[in-house]
Assembly symmetry: C2
Homo-oligomer: 344 residues x 2
């Protein structure tokens, strides 16, 4: 089959690799019908060192079940399923807490032999991981359903962890697909004021359609000043940080209101950061977030897509066949595309 | 009057200073009847540079109102009041949120001209700040009521911010008076398992009386391993960090359960700390805490002391007159005393 392999920064190739096979009774083999490129794929696209063995890419997928292991109970051959970016058994103590990304039998598709930017993939812990899409679902809804494998529910996770709710002022840092998803999720959760920090008009326009009440194009100290002005000098109850770089974190603690919360879902490209008296502690700010526990939200989100309550698939502004995925990476890296849908 | 002045590390003196006078209509003049030395006073005791002008010390007090400004409405001369470690107006947006330590007209007694280890002090924003003790309250309860100015309610703040509740496993790092208060508060809030990390038997024994179900004397990696063992390898839902030094923070993220919360009330003696994928982010751990919003909890806590529900004053194991406060600092620094009560 064909799969996407990265050999170093900027070097994305589609290659013939061995077909994956079901090896454990808890696995399922999926033929991928929809995949996509994630903003987080751009991190290795920028800085992956020389990797002669190649790194398999992709962690978002919808597909059709082709084969199941003997122990798989909830899936049947022919089912269309959403595959979240992490697998999880659904039964361990952390899964029961809803922290599915910390499953004791879990893992991440990204970089795994079974990454999703490919024609087929193996889903480990298939009963716990894959979620069926109702038979007969309109194909036009598939892009929105695909966002439930990561991007929309990552924005949603940010908002849930940040305790977004009615009456709250929320600031979203980042106008990428996760940031826009965080805007949409904040609107769903009843936020009163939603400030989107971003400078790409095409994106912030979609952000406004998703529910942003204000757009701040400024960054750094100017951006902080602007948000403080909008919030009457009080700061933002919740800051959703959907970038992952230090300047975004610095903006976050600059604008968070005393007693407020910074919720991060941009994978931090740093390990150490300010958390002392002058950044978080002095104003009793809370720092939360992490890899989105997509699987814990999936069942509740599917009906919202099916009934049109949310249309998160609007973040896809380009579609390419798998054979042209390298162009998809290029388009997203150059910001010519917001998010690229891939049809294997 | 006499007041405590620090001139450098280890150099604590009681000196004659001008009597404070009411200068603003919102102030009250208090004659201090009970004060104490705080663990946080030991930070300057260790590292205050040469300070020829002197630094006034103390931020915990009970006293009697001697004079009030023209605008003070809730206090009368002769009232006995608890003075929390920060003043606040009670009416600003942050006070209304309960984040009284971020009051726009607020400030901290520690280091201010009106610090509390003295015979008298001025309480700014007196209506918002000072809380009356019912007339006729038994003097024997005053040490416990004094802990509501900081130490007990700081432990309580840690527990509230950490969302301690029934069924939760809580680990308290630090067996100082704040740590022991955090144990007592966690018990009050219904925690099921309370692990106290500390190595001073006299203190951990009081911790057990306050509600600790386990004591871990080990530190660092060994301490982490011990807590993981007690929690069946899952980690602690809540970690209350009552120290403020980096090794305590490192222990905290080592033992926090995926999806759990680290709540800090030990004033951080660092600004940068690990918060990336391998410390907080990867396991969706939340970092919260800050200066305790004591004032927001005070009214509800007083009846709990009066009716004997809590007896946080047990953290005081020594009493000295103000004239001997330097000895109180020495006793706490050498860990010969847990917390020293001062009678001006």
């Amino acid at each position: 089959m064909k799969a996407t392999v990265m050999y170093g920064a900027g070097d994305v190739r589609v290659e013939e690799v061995p077909d994956p096979v079901v090896q454990k009774p808890t696995e399922a083999l999926i033929r991928v019908t929809y995949a996509c490129v994630c903003g987080s794929d751009l991190h290795p696209y920028h800085d992956l060192g020389d990797t002669p063995e190649g790194r398999r890419m992709g962690h978002e997928a919808i597909g059709v079940v082709e084969e199941i292991g003997d122990d798989v109970r909830t899936l049947s051959v022919g089912d269309t399923v959403i595959v979240p970016f992490a697998w999880s058994d659904g039964t361990c103590p952390f899964c029961r807490d809803g922290i599915t990304t910390s499953c004791v039998h879990g893992g991440f598709f990204d970089g795994a032999p079974s990454a999703t930017q490919a024609e087929k993939l193996i889903v480990p812990e298939a009963d716990g991981t894959a979620v069926k899409v109702p038979a007969g679902t309109d194909e036009a809804l598939m892009p929105s359903l695909l966002t439930l494998s990561d991007v929309y529910l990552t924005g949603y996770h940010a908002a849930v962890q940040g305790q977004v709710g009615p009456g709250k002022t929320v600031t979203v840092i980042g106008d990428g697909a996760v940031g826009l998803s965080a805007v949409l999720a904040s609107k769903q959760l009843g936020a009163e004021t939603i400030i989107l920090m971003g400078r790409h008009t095409a994106r912030t326009d979609l952000g406004r359609e998703f529910g942003a009440t204000h757009v701040v194009a400024e960054r750094g100290d100017e951006g902080v000043a602007k948000v403080m002005e909008i919030t009457g000098g009080e700061g933002s109850h919740v800051v959703l940080e959907a970038v992952g770089h230090m300047p975004a974190y610095e903006q976050a603690y600059g604008i968070v209101r005393p007693g407020g919360t910074i919720s991060r879902v941009g994978v931090p490209q740093y390990e150490e950061a300010p958390v002392g008296f002058t950044s978080l502690f002095g104003k009793n700010a809370t720092l939360t977030g992490g890899p989105a526990t997509v699987r814990a939200y999936l069942e509740a989100a599917i009906p919202q897509v099916l009934d049109g309550t949310i249309d998160p698939g609007r973040v896809f502004d380009r579609e390419l066949p798998l054979s042209e995925i390298a162009e998809g990476y290029r388009l997203m890296d150059s910001r010519e595309a917001l998010k690229v849908l891939i049809r294997p």
